[in-house]
């Protein structure tokens, strides 16, 4: 599996960058090492949404990606403890009232809690919020859930304050995340499960090959779709579509010849 961390602040990212030896890739602005990468979204919903467009444009292989949003959050003084890490099972967008529900399928050892994403930082009244408060999670869920299924969206929040802080710079976010870095590592170990990735039949190489065959044979759109569908059937039942190559060696000279050739291919793939 690939893991893509999102943090709002650079200081939140530093412990993760250090733990996984991530290096900045100037082209993509991602911090990367092997199957783990990290992206800094910026603070607030608006900035997050804009910044996420750039990551969506990178055309990451979402099929095997687990997104983990790590950040600090304000907590309810009666329900949470400063420095503790929580697994989010419900995100409420305060502005729109929309509710976003991650799909927790994987065992973890963290306490679960509700998170409210607010527009402006809260520093005077925690009684209105049930659980934790942050400024990005709903925007992340909303933007990314079209690309990654909900069971691969993970939100981990570390309580930094009881929504009573006026000077945000006084919060040592880096230390708070650093204190929880091994818990974060445990979560990604739990999620490193191949059963979570999207199932595929034809790999990219095979799909590109079929596209090439379609072009070479000047197949109609319907024929091209049939070729993919029948190839999926064939591979599922026989393990490989390597034998198909033989049927695409000779380029047809007319539509009639193409249709005849495609008929032979159809029969071969239907066996």
């Amino acid at each position: 599996m690939n893991f893509l961390f999102f943090t709002a602040l650079k200081v939140e990212a530093i412990p993760i960058i250090r733990r996984f030896n991530l290096k900045k890739d100037l082209k993509t602005q991602l911090f990367i090492y092997k199957n783990i990468s990290l992206f800094i979204t910026g603070v607030g919903k608006q900035k997050t949404k804009v910044r996420l467009k750039s990551i969506i444009d990178l055309k990451i292989n979402w099929d095997e990606t687990i997104l983990i949003n790590v950040g600090i959050a304000g907590g309810d003084i009666n329900k949470t403890k400063i420095g503790s890490i929580y697994f989010i099972n419900k995100i409420i967008d305060e502005e729109t009232g929309n509710i976003f529900l991650p799909d927790p399928l994987i065992k973890h050892n963290l306490e679960e809690i509700t998170l409210t994403t607010v527009l402006n930082s809260v520093s005077d009244d925690s009684s209105n919020y049930n659980g934790l408060v942050d400024m990005e999670a709903s925007a992340i869920f909303e933007s990314i859930s079209s690309y990654i299924p909900c069971h691969r969206l993970v939100f981990l929040k570390i309580v930094s304050d009881y929504m009573d802080i006026l000077d945000w710079k006084s919060i040592d976010a880096e230390s708070l995340i650093q204190e929880q870095i091994e818990n974060i590592y445990q979560v990604i170990n739990c999620y490193n499960n191949q059963n979570l990735s999207n199932r595929i039949i034809l790999n990219n190489l095979e799909i590109n090959l079929l596209k090439k065959y379609s072009e070479k044979f000047k197949l109609t759109k319907t024929q091209s779709l049939q070729l993919i569908s029948l190839s999926e059937n064939y591979k599922k039942n026989n393990g490989s579509i390597d034998g198909l190559e033989l049927y695409f060696k000779k380029i047809p000279k007319s539509k009639q010849e193409r249709n005849k050739g495609f008929d032979t291919i159809r029969k071969y793939l239907s066996t």
């Binding site: 799909d103 739990c190 059963n195």
Partner: protein, 342 residues
């Protein structure tokens, strides 16, 4: 990094409860049944259950429970795919959406985007709707047949919530109501204290052990289903035997022949209400939706024919199924009690 294997949360680790559902007894009963579950309050089950970009088969590793309040309609007219068993007033309802089992040929995976289970807690509203339908049914001289287990296996759920029991008790108070309980469950003993009623038909789906293993994941083995049927018959309940779908594969005739021999030998024909036989068939739209998710099952990568927007097996295979079952069952039950759906 460690590669994790069996790290899925247990089924019902989370219970999602609609705000409106909190006040119902069934909700409290369910939450009490799973004291360790994390409770998450939601506004409307549809926004969670029907959302896009869920993976049905991955969710099957850790099924969540959703408790919701059903909105009308509470009762539906039977469809062409659903066998009416000769009842002209044939209806179904949906006390539960989705199933604990994971049969690879099941239409539910094409019907719903989620594998999570929705339990509708307002049982009274559903009962009231049935009462109303009883009073204005299309054929007033015929009873109303209600299938309560169309979008689920209700009896498989009986140890969690006794919903089948509730419906049986309800049916016993209505003279013109008949209820069909379709199941693969072996949990009949959870109902065996009830007095048998001719208003109820238990329909057990039976398949060769090979199909149970390869296609009917998480279902009880054939032997346990047969034991449940034997107990039901012994207690005096009416039983329908369903061989539906008959799965076609190399040597299917041998396996199904053996299965029928076993049934004839071990199940007393007395109290067999009827027998239904069908082949794999699924609405084209559901089939395509399942196929797009690239399930592991081979059933979606076979050659089918399309008839009236239904994907099904070829006519010669349907004929072979009909021949096998007719020949084998000839001496077991009269032909007019065998229904073929193909």
């Amino acid at each position: 990094m460690i590669q994790s294997e069996n790290t899925f949360l247990p089924d019902f680790s989370h219970i999602y409860v609609e705000s409106e559902a909190k006040k119902y007894n069934l909700t409290r009963e369910c939450i009490d049944r799973f004291p360790k579950a994390t409770i998450v309050e939601i506004l409307d089950y549809k926004s969670f259950f029907n959302r896009k970009n869920q993976d049905f088969q991955t969710q099957k590793h850790s099924i969540k429970l959703i408790l919701a309040v059903k909105k009308p309609p509470f009762i539906y007219k039977g469809t062409d795919i659903l066998q009416d068993g000769g009842f002209r007033n044939f209806y179904y309802n949906t006390p539960i959406l989705n199933c604990l089992y994971n049969c690879d040929y099941c239409f539910l995976q094409g019907m719903y985007s989620s594998a999570n289970i929705v339990v509708f807690v307002n049982q009274n509203d559903m009962e009231t709707a049935v009462e109303k339908k009883l009073s204005d049914r299309l054929y007033p001289n015929d009873p109303l047949m209600l299938s309560i287990s169309y979008n689920t296996d209700l009896m498989a759920f009986e140890n969690i919530l006794p919903i089948t029991r509730s419906w049986i008790n309800f049916a016993n108070t209505k003279s013109d109501l008949r209820i069909e309980v379709r199941t693969k469950s072996a949990l009949f003993n959870s109902l065996s204290d009830l007095s048998p009623s001719e208003k109820i038909i238990f329909s057990w789906t039976l398949s060769p052990e090979r199909v149970v293993t390869n296609n009917e994941y998480n279902t009880p083995p054939l032997e346990r289903r047969i034991s449940a049927i034997q107990l039901a018959i012994k207690k005096g309940w009416q039983v329908r035997l369903c061989f539906d779908p008959v799965i076609i594969y190399d040597n299917w005739e041998q396996d199904y022949g053996d299965l029928l021999n076993k049934i004839i030998f071990s199940i007393d024909r007395k109290n067999i209400y009827d027998i239904t036989v069908g082949v794999f068939r699924m609405g084209q739209d559901y089939f395509q939706r399942v196929r797009k998710s690239y399930p592991d099952s081979l059933e979606y990568y076979k050659n089918y024919v399309v008839e009236d927007k239904i994907m099904t097996v070829a006519q010669d295979e349907r004929d072979a199924v009909k021949t096998l079952f007719t020949n084998k069952l000839r001496d077991y039950i009269s032909e007019d009690k065998i229904y073929f759906w193909m």
